[in-house]
């Protein structure tokens, strides 16, 4: 159903106007990263004048550890988190939607329940737990939970998509003598590819943007993530280098944007897979 061209023009006009609102903050950040510190709080224009490019150099090597280290740390943590979340959350979601066993609904309710507890209060007991495991000051508290399906948001997300897969498919597979594993691997996963892509994108972005976890669990600057690094330029009680913060914030957006652009292809591939039916 290709729309006719006047309507498509209208759609483009609406989308372009909306994009402008979406884009303004990014352009403003970009402009701010080229502004002297004394201009950042008072200017709303998108054109830095005077033009001060020094912030990128100050930002990259201004802290005692190069910003590249933070990029590496964040990348390792985010990629591991994606792998962990996508595998274990899809296993869990598959089990609670496509398999039958005792206590299934209770487990699913418990999963949803964990989404409701504000992290501000479980933070301390969890910190003490990880401290006893001797994991504090390592990336383990940020990564291991992802391999144990603790992020119920993703379980719920994938569950909703698995539920949409017609039951006749499993039934046919069971008749053919397929194991649960093969139904999961050969039928459910390929059909839920857009959902898996979505889960991968979100996990990467949420992990990349996470600040609270790294703040509490990472002590040494060599282990810092980009979000901790960014805050390193700011001290609201004293001297901050906002220019450097904005410059690095712009760079920090690039990997997430790249990841997003790359993985959004899986969302498109969804068209092809539903064609299977």
């Amino acid at each position: 159903m290709k729309p006719s061209w006047p309507r498509s023009l209208l759609a483009h006009a609406v989308l372009c106007a909306a994009s402008l609102v979406m884009l303004y903050p990014l352009l403003w950040m970009l402009a701010s990263s080229f502004r002297p510190n004394s201009d950042i709080f008072t200017s709303i224009s998108l054109w830095p004048d005077p033009f001060a490019p020094g912030a990128y150099r100050r930002g990259w090597s201004g802290l005692q550890v190069s910003f590249g280290t933070f990029f590496n740390n964040s990348l390792v943590i985010a990629v591991l988190a994606v792998i962990g979340n996508v595998t274990t959350c899809s296993l869990t979601a598959f089990a609670v939607t496509r398999l039958r066993f005792r206590g299934r609904d209770v487990f699913f309710a418990l999963m949803l329940g964990t989404m409701m507890v504000p992290y501000q209060v479980t933070l301390i007991p969890q910190y003490i737990l990880f401290l006893h495991l001797d994991w504090v000051n390592t990336a383990l508290p940020l990564v291991v939970p992802k391999f144990l399906a603790v992020d119920a948001f993703f379980i719920f997300l994938l569950a909703q998509f698995f539920r949409g897969i017609p039951r006749e498919l499993d039934e046919a597979a069971v008749m053919d003598g397929c194991s649960a594993w093969r139904i999961y691997w050969n039928i459910a996963l390929p059909l839920a590819l857009p959902a898996l892509g979505t889960a991968a994108i979100f996990t990467f972005i949420f992990t990349w943007d996470d600040f609270f976890g790294p703040l509490v669990y990472l002590n040494d600057i060599e282990t810092f993530t980009v979000q901790l690094g960014l805050r390193g330029f700011l001290d609201s009680s004293g001297t901050s280098d906002w220019g450097a913060m904005f410059a690095m914030a712009v760079l920090t957006l690039l990997p997430v944007l790249a990841f997003f652009l790359f993985f959004q292809r899986t969302l498109i591939q969804g068209i092809a897979t539903t064609g299977l039916k």
Binding site: S38, V76, V79, I128, N219, L234, D235, T239
Partner: protein, 425 residues
């Protein structure tokens, strides 16, 4: 290929970092040093720590730092886990909370041995005491201070704010400044009605205390009503910014109405001059908070800011105290640290670094010297709940500013709420 290579190296690097932390702990006594601050402070602090480990090869110092806004959340979490860093930077507003709950080590038994306080006068040592025991030692002295746009003052032909300017006089001069500016959206002063330090100076000028020695709130409902009325009047005559502008100000450098270019005068601390100047184009200067008519003394006091304390849970008490002593009393350390955290409390260190100070540091230093004859002694320590009272003050002043309460009603409501907060602890 390149990206995979980086990823692998990073992964190995991260893994290595995890192992390294433990290996280090075995090789030497590893002390964790934790402070808040920006880039320059991190550089100076790390260099000082390096200098120490050079002369003490059996000690490894791991520096940990975050900005002020996140500092206390992380410290509280670590304290809950009995995993506080060995040496922590401490603030006057928090030392009582941590010391009274048993989070900090009492230092009295180390004085004269591991802890060198020979260059300190009694007043600055008292600033680190909680209930009679020393829990923190100051890295830098400062005091509350008006930070103002001296350049615009001069250009507009306004007299500089030289001590003493009474509160009444301050109102008139700020109203005049707003008029002289002839600019929409810029006013003479910040609305400091929600600022705890400003209220404290004002109360002490009246012979009251913010908190009594018994830990009660020290002002009456009438005092508070007067205070809120003073700022209501300031707003009415256009001497300070209106409430919707003041509400943008989170009482820190980056959001202050001075930085936003909405006012010429801000209420701050003397050691923040450098921070304010970095984000302001006009030349700034320091001045004392207004004076009370008929009182030759100011309610201001020399505040031991940016103290160092030792965690009660440290496993290396002596070594931690020694490291701390190096930071506060060693002249070589003093040279590296400069006056970035305030004027060194140790006279010895002050004398050594004086010749090397730049213009801004010299101004901070001369300000502390100027105010010394007129300041008052340290006030009694704040009780538990003092931090929450500050939030209450901010909110109550907003309530009056947005005309949701009269100054008189706000005064009695504030007293009731503050008393409730303090009794709850």
């Amino acid at each position: 290929m390149g990206t995979i290579e980086i990823g692998r190296r990073a992964l190995l690097g991260t893994t290595a970092a995890l192992i390294a932390a433990r290996a280090q702990a075995q090789a030497a006594t590893r002390l964790r040093l934790y402070w808040w601050g920006g880039v320059e402070r991190a550089e100076r602090t790390n260099k000082t720590a390096e200098l120490y480990t050079k002369t003490h090869p059996s000690i490894a110092v791991a520096g940990e730092t975050v900005g002020w806004g996140d500092y206390w959340t992380r410290l509280a979490t670590q304290a809950a886990g009995r995993n506080m860093p060995d040496v922590v930077q401490m603030d006057y507003g928090y030392i009582f909370e941590y010391a009274r709950r048993g989070g900090l080590l009492a230092l009295d038994s180390y004085v004269g041995k591991e802890l060198d306080l020979s260059g300190f006068d009694a007043a600055s040592i008292d600033g680190g005491k909680v209930d009679g025991k020393i829990y923190g030692v100051s890295l830098g002295l400062n005091s509350t201070s008006i930070v103002y746009d001296r350049e615009s003052f001069d250009a507009l032909g306004l007299a500089p704010l030289a001590w003493p300017v009474t509160w009444e006089d301050f109102a008139t001069r700020m109203a005049a400044a707003t008029k002289a500016l002839k600019k929409d959206g810029v006013w003479g002063s910040t609305d400091a009605g929600g600022s705890g330090p400003a209220l404290e100076v004002w109360l002490r000028g009246r012979g009251k205390e913010m908190y009594t020695a018994e830990g009660k709130f020290g002002a009456s409902a009438a005092d508070m009503a007067d205070w809120f009325a003073y700022w209501a009047e300031m707003r009415a005559i256009g001497a300070c910014v209106p409430p919707e502008v003041q509400a943008l100000d989170k009482l820190d450098v980056d959001t202050s109405v001075l930085t936003l270019g909405k006012a010429l005068v801000g209420f701050a601390n003397s050691n923040q001059l450098v921070g304010y100047q970095a984000v302001n184009k006009k030349k700034l200067d320091l001045a004392m908070y207004p004076a009370t008519k008929g009182n030759p003394k100011s309610g201001q006091y020399l505040k031991p800011s940016q103290m160092l304390s030792i965690a009660a849970t440290t496993r290396n008490k002596e070594e931690a105290v020694k490291l701390m002593s190096f930071f506060i009393a060693d002249t070589e350390a003093g040279k590296l640290l400069g006056v970035e955290r305030g004027i060194p409390a140790s006279k010895k260190v002050r004398e050594v670094i004086a010749p090397s100070l730049d213009a801004m540091a010299t101004r901070m230093s001369s300000y502390i010297a100027e105010i010394a004859p007129v300041v008052s002694p340290l006030p009694p320590p704040p009780p538990k709940g003092a931090g929450e009272v500050l939030t209450l003050l901010l909110r109550t002043n907003e309530t009056v500013g947005f005309k949701k309460a009269t100054p008189a009603a706000a005064g009695s409501q504030f007293l009731k709420d503050a008393t409730d907060i303090i009794s709850r602890g």
